[in-house]
Symmetry: C2
Subunit: 213 residues, 2 copies
């Protein structure tokens, strides 16, 4: 896939773009070429496949066809289907940025970082886990990964009673923020306000959960 024909579709915004960053490649808004292009195409095709189909129905052959490469190239670069899945679905980079603020500032930091990440990634860093709720077998894998890489990590950041419960609800607020920004874009009110205003409105609810109740 070229970069030029991608940027629009947010369906894709929430998948393909995210993908590009998570692929572990240098950002290159300006059209990557060369040996990494195939890799990038494979990762985008894989993420799309794993997002839209049950895990069991995803085949290396199908991903190869969508990426315009040979199945053997995928195996050479990524190994098994499970290894490829593990490569394309990784919430840790986003979690590392999201949870890197002192607790008293965490609510606001989370909102601003979500907005910034979505902007940089041209897609939402977490929302894919919700897309796949409708798909039975992948759901289990993605869910457990999200819980380890996001919820567990956030739980460890919190102190006080019910840290796990509060972490789950904060994760919900982050997913909800991403969902509503995606849903109401490009013509919604959230699309026409500043990140600071979003934080003014949305962060207090998160901070309420960060602080022990």
């Amino acid at each position: 896939m070229s970069t030029a024909d991608e940027p629009t579709s947010p369906a894709t915004a929430d998948t393909d773009r995210t993908v590009r960053r998570e692929a572990g490649q240098p950002r290159t808004e300006g059209g990557e070429e060369g040996p990494e292009t195939g890799r990038d195409a494979i990762i985008r095709a894989a993420r799309r496949a794993f997002t839209l189909k049950p895990y069991a129905e995803v085949t290396m052959r199908g991903i190869a066809a969508a990426a315009g490469v040979s199945p053997s190239l995928i195996v050479k670069r990524f190994g098994t289907k499970e290894a490829l899945f593990n490569t394309v679905v990784d919430f840790r980079p986003a979690a590392a940025e999201l949870f890197s603020a002192p607790r008293p500032d965490l609510g606001r930091h989370l909102v601003l970082t979500m907005v910034d990440l979505r902007d940089r990634l041209r897609g939402d860093p977490l929302l894919r886990v919700v897309f796949s709720l409708g798909i039975e077998d992948e759901r289990t894998l993605l869910r457990s990964r999200f819980r380890e890489q996001v919820t567990d990590r956030l739980t460890a950041v919190l102190t006080g009673h019910d840290a796990r419960l509060r972490a789950e609800l904060i994760a919900g607020q982050l997913l909800g923020l991403g969902a509503t920004l995606s849903l109401h874009r490009p013509d919604g009110a959230t699309a026409h306000t500043t990140a600071d205003r979003l934080a003014d409105l949305y962060a207090p609810g998160i901070q309420h959960l960060v602080d022990e109740n």
Copy 2:
């Protein structure tokens, strides 16, 4: 739609239950039988198809096969594919319940009603709109419907500045609550707490958005 066989109607969105129910098996809880069973199976098959596939790829023939009925029966009962889509995706019943509290109590009412609706529907009343974010053409239809039936309606309930923006963010919090309850079930902390405790924790953030800032 009959009232008896589609109590889960708007949303079955959530998933394990949804999937199980939409798989086309007869409902057992209520034990409906008879002529409505086919209708129920059609609605489940249609909801599943519209959730998991691009709108353009959904066919009456495919829904008929999944429901175990003839395509002509679907046309007879529901009309066109568009009419069937309109029937199976309807956020209004959920919105009517969610937004039926005075503003000073709305935050808590929204959380308790979401939990109650999810329980009664055995699925989330709103979350399907997020599932379909990854699917290009259906997304447009679902998005506009969600905005009309949920966001616009909620905007009309609010007063003060930035009502639209606040409504979009409240919608996000509701979607996020549903997402996290689905993601962390059945073994998460949210699955082992009471609706009142959830409301204690989650409602203040919503109420902050309900109240003018």
